[in-house]
Amino acid sequence: MHMRTRRFLDRAFTSAACLAVGLMVLFLLFVLGPIFVKGAGAYVFMGTVEHRRMMLDQFDRGNEERVTAEWLDVQQARRPVYEALSAFEKELPGLPAARRKELKPAFKAVREGVAELLGPEPGEPLPALTRKMYGQTRWTKAQEKLKEIRFEESWDYSAGAGRKVLTSRQPLFDGTALAPLFPLLERDARKLLRPRLTFYPRFLTDVSIDAHFFGGIGPEVLGTMYLALGAMLIAVPLGIIAAIYFQEYAKEGPVMTFLRSCVNTLAGVPSIVFGLFGLAFFINTMHVSSGKSVLAGALTLALLVLPTVIRSSEEAIAAVPRAYKEGAMALGAGPWRTILTVILPAALPGILTGIVISMGRAAGETAPIIFTAAVSVGKMIGPTEIASQPTPALSWNLYNLCTEHEAVNEIRHVQFGMAATLVVIVLALNLVAILIRARVARRLKG
């Protein structure tokens, strides 16, 4: 081969390899980007007056006087909207039959749209569902609703694939009493809703109201914490003891080889199978609880993270210099004292790294808790109910809210908020692990 082709091939290969790394980084940004950006929207957003009313009613938060005053102003501003609606309602029976037939469904859509945008009309009985008691609490969502009122959505199939077509409703109502409504909504939308930059950090700890239409993700966060901490409480002692045995006591032989490959195999068991096992063993056989419970879920998750805890602890113990052990022995320490006073303290950072990473894994897992611990709707549970009550959890409820919820599209911000929160928790735990490792590396250097 010519030197030139060889050099070209070398360059091509190098670029391909660098490209692959770039692709990986890109993937990470591509996944995390939208989740962080949109997830932040659950905590910081343009909140309307409806949000402030809701917070006052439901959570008793905010300045009551100011919100009431603002509410009176807004009602004033909204009066023309309702006047236009009722004027048209009176006008409608007098219109010619053909025109009436044409306008009636459109009017119904507009009226429903206004109710969704601004909340129930004044004077109407209060709806039973909390989600219907308020208009749009978030400005971005309100703008979507505005568009739905002003334009009719239809699908055009003439080109083969369907294409969305938006037609303005305004020309339809030209000359009627409803005509002023459209410019009003377009021009004065801000006056009707008063969007304002809103910080809602308590999204993290608030209970949800009416199936996540309002409020936060407190019960889910709490449930995830219970499950992750519970799993570690069970897995860490077991894992460290097993690691000590494997590293310090075990004599190589068929029994040890077998136990070791058991641990390796456990690491490869699919997570959903852990869920099945939790159901079949902890709940249906051991009856740790009559049905799903935090305890059953934590036990199942503990098994899942056990191999990781064992392996990382073993690695950490194996990395302790032999000289430490000899030094302790030479001073007359027995094997137990040596392990407890010298080896474990020296291995602690490594063991902690493994624990923290496993905890992140336990917090993020979904499949093992579906049958053992998770429910989609639930309140915050107290520490005494751990053995008997199931719990919502971030991972499971994220699945539930974006697939099985009755209004998946209405609560996108909650889904993204939940996903971002879960990712932040898991990545923060990983960051802690990275920092511990860096510290150890620095200390060993000098």
């Binding site: 030094g327 001073l331 007359g332 027995g334 004292r337 303290p345």
Partner: protein, 259 residues
């Protein structure tokens, strides 16, 4: 060879037909040796001659190595260290050890020295303070570290770390000190300080030191034992062994013809 020991000095450690095996390989071969009390005994020989193995056998550190076993008898203070009923913890408390490479624990300087006393008894904080100070003074480290006793011992220089290990060994008040090439990882200046210390400690402790440095053996020791291929070739007063070796192999070694 025991007849070469001066009869007026009491033997602190006495090996009788003592062998150490790694698996089936005999690393120390039927050695008879009596280490006198309160003197410095150097053990020299080419690498792999079994000198370290013999030293580590005295406080039973070889127990840590799987497949290592012994034959014959090894008396410490008149008791066979290898009899079945021996408490190795007591053996190791009474016989301190300093290793080739300084091995301070990743703890504070104070905790390193206090480690041994804490293992073997319960002391008040004040008693511990006194033990720590006394041991560090004996190891000639006190002045350098008295202001930073709570600092991690891993921050010490090699020579300081080795003296800390010596202080750690002294803190349990042993009767004997084993030193396994204690200066091989140190620079000449640090080596000189350790040698000074050995001379200072002489008379208070029985010291056995393994070294590959013959000048060092000549400088610090009263008695010298020469090991070769697992055998004790010659054991004599240091000044005699280095000036008038009786064995041809000893002469070859100390004149640098091999090793």
């Amino acid at each position: 060879m025991t007849d070469t020991v001066k009869q007026n000095v009491e033997a602190h450690v006495e090996a009788r037909g003592f062998s150490v095996y790694y698996g089936s390989q005999e690393a120390v071969k039927k050695v008879d040796l009596a280490i006198p009390s309160c003197q410095v005994t150097a053990i020299i020989g080419p690498s792999g001659c079994g000198k370290s193995t013999f030293l580590r056998a005295i406080n039973r550190m070889n127990d840590l190595i799987t497949g290592c076993h012994t034959q014959g008898e090894l008396f410490f203070d008149g008791q066979n260290v290898y009899s079945g009923d021996v408490d190795t913890a007591v053996v190791r408390r009474r016989i301190g050890m300093v290793f080739q490479k300084p091995n301070p624990f990743p703890k504070s300087i104070y905790d390193n020295v206090a480690y041994g006393p804490r293992l073997h008894g319960s002391y008040s904080r004040r008693q511990l303070d006194a033990i720590v100070e006394e041991s560090l003074v004996d190891a000639a480290l006190w002045d350098e570290v008295k202001d930073r006793l709570e600092k991690n011992a891993l921050g010490l220089s090699g020579g300081q770390a080795q003296r800390l290990c010596l202080a750690r060994a002294l803190a349990v008040k042993p009767e004997m000190l084993l030193m396994d090439e204690p200066t091989s990882a140190l620079d000449p200046k640090a080596t000189a300080r350790i040698e000074e210390l050995i001379v200072q400690l002489r008379g208070r402790y029985t010291i056995a030191i393994v070294t590959h440095n013959m000048q060092q053996a000549a400088r610090v020791s009263d008695m010298t034992a020469f090991f070769y291929e697992g055998n004790l070739v010659e054991f004599d007063a240091t000044k005699d062994l280095f000036t008038r070796p009786r064995e041809k192999r000893t002469e070859d070694y100390i004149t640098g013809r091999f090793g």
